[in-house]
């Protein structure tokens, strides 16, 4: 059943159109940077964008930082929100459940498909970012010596070798993917509550917008550590020296809690609800 769901998802033009749209903005930004040679100053604009002119291998991280606040969560929310509610709206959910596999297995199959979409979407953005970065900007070969200039400098002012940058970039990509699993879990849960994929997607976005808004308020600081978007940008902590693991581990733990609770709630709701369409 998992293979069926995977095949269904990745054969849909909509899935690949979503991923293509995700990559459009980072490509546009790269083109503008090359044409104007005007990168933002360090500390301004999305993280890492200031350094890509001198080191294009950092562009995967810059690309993820560009899409992370809005486009990537929207893409994940659209796909996750459609997983169950889309079948219900199309009138196919009832027929899917006539198979002897059962609701739990169907939910697991949908879950695996959504999770895989998250991983593929993040990887494609990173790979496209790498290709764009290494072809359009000056790039340092992996395994070389310490990079000159600020492009190979950590936030803390220490020099990083290309091998350091590669390792830390891979960890950053993994961290972003885990952060998006929480969004996927919200989408899957909301998708079991409604027959409208748009409603499920809007529910996820409402949660994320509220979380981002509350994070900016000092009055909300007591609940800030529990907001789902609180630690999203902590992937930049891989580029401090020493690496600041505090927020990274908290971010991973928080996503694990959200994923665990929401998937349990999705399972409880989906396996007990009346399916009429």
């Amino acid at each position: 059943m998992i293979l069926v769901e995977l095949r269904k998802m990745f054969r849909r033009p909509r899935t690949w159109a979503t991923i293509a749209v995700l990559n459009a903005l980072p490509i546009l930004v790269a083109v503008l940077l090359v044409l104007t040679d005007l990168a933002p100053r360090p500390g301004e604009g999305p993280p890492f964008l200031s350094a890509v002119l001198s080191n294009g291998t950092l562009y995967p991280l810059a690309a993820l930082a560009i899409v992370l606040p809005l486009f990537l969560p929207i893409a994940v929310a659209v796909i996750a929100g459609d997983s169950i509610a889309g079948e219900a709206q199309a009138g196919t959910l009832r027929y899917l459940l006539t198979r002897p596999a059962g609701r739990t297995r169907l939910l697991v199959a949908k879950l695996v498909a959504v999770m895989l979409f998250v991983v593929v979407a993040v990887l494609v953005v990173a790979v496209v970012g790498y290709v764009v970065g290494t072809t359009m900007f000056h790039a340092q070969p992996i395994g070389g010596t310490v990079i000159g200039g600020t492009g190979g400098t950590s936030f803390s002012g220490t020099s990083l070798t290309p091998q350091d940058i590669t390792n830390r970039t891979l960890m950053g990509i993994g961290y972003v993917a885990v952060s998006m699993l929480g969004v996927a879990a919200f989408g899957l849960f909301f998708s079991t509550l409604t027959e409208s994929p748009l409603g499920a997607t809007m529910g996820v976005l409402a949660v994320l917008v509220s979380s981002s808004l509350l994070f900016t308020l000092d009055a909300a600081s007591p609940i800030a550590p529990y907001l789902p978007t609180r630690y999203w940008l902590s992937f930049v902590d891989f580029f401090r020296d020493p690496i600041q693991w505090r927020d990274i581990t908290r971010g991973l733990s928080l996503q694990a809690v959200y994923v665990g609770v929401l998937l349990t709630a999705a399972w409880a709701n989906f396996t007990t609800k009346d399916v009429t369409s």
């Binding site: 500390g43 400098t153 803390s156 002012g157 020099s159 940008l233 401090r240 409880a268």
Partner: protein, 360 residues
Amino acid sequence: MRWSVVGVLVVLLASLPALIGALPVSDAAVSAHDLRAAVLASRTVAFSGYAESAGGLALPVTDQLTSVADLFSDRTTMRVWWRGPTDNRVDVVTATGETGTHTGTGGSWTWEYERATATRVAATPLALPAPPDLLPTALGRRLLSEATDAELTRIGARRVAGRDALGLRLTPAEKASSVRRVDVWVDRASGLPLQVQVLGTEGSRTALDTRFLDLDLATPSARTTAFSPPPGAAVRVGKEAEVVLEAGRRIEPVPLPATLVGLPRRHLDGVPAAIGLYGRGVTLLTVAPLPERLSDGLYDSLVQSPAAIVDDTSVRVAAGPVGLMLVEPPDEDPYILTGTVTLDALAAAAARLPGLGSAR
């Protein structure tokens, strides 16, 4: 049944922080005197940690020194590695970069990622306030350094950064003080201040709260605190403190009273002669003649404050426990008065300045 599983899971997870916070904290029979002594002796204790300060002081300033104003009004997140007073590193961490101060023998390096700039600053007797001054360890030692036993009381214990912290309350004896109290929470094992809270006499809001969120008493490596400018970085020499002190030295001294609002005048190394410094501990008052060209901009900035009290010759405003007053006598140069005293005390002090009052 299935929803019960969800309910139990949510309740368990939601109550976890409260359960951890409710873990019993063991107090110790340490006197306030001994606890203060332990704090003052903790300068050489090595540690590393993660701290956060939250300031509620909206200081009215002109275009100069905005970084100092931000320091006391914003939330500042810091990582610190402390091997000793002359070998330490404090990074102010932001979402897109960081500013690190590496202190060594003879001075410090400040690395600003946002500007790709390394700044060398020589050690001076006086320096402008900087983020490392807001660490609970530095601030706690500074605020307790001149406290008397009569001003100190013990206030139980609490858990800070996962460690048992003994409470020490400083209540200033001076009537003019605008600080109601300072609570310092001290690590039982090392004497390091883990949290410092400053409350003003007006309102119930904490004026300044700085605390460790994580603390490790292992000695950090020398490699972590060392610094050399990275390739391609701009390197400059910082002279901001020197410029401010030089401006102070150019001020023509005037005969200031020996005592103001019950606070005796004191002298500190490096303070220009024209600047009058009064008080002790957490109750301090500074008086200085101000060049006419500087007073106009400051006046404009002060009167914009909604809480400003304006009369014929002066304007005064309070930012938490910090009071600031600009006096413009008819036939004299202006004066600026600032410190941790009440606005009434500022007005009383101003009335005794040359050109304004009868007494000298």
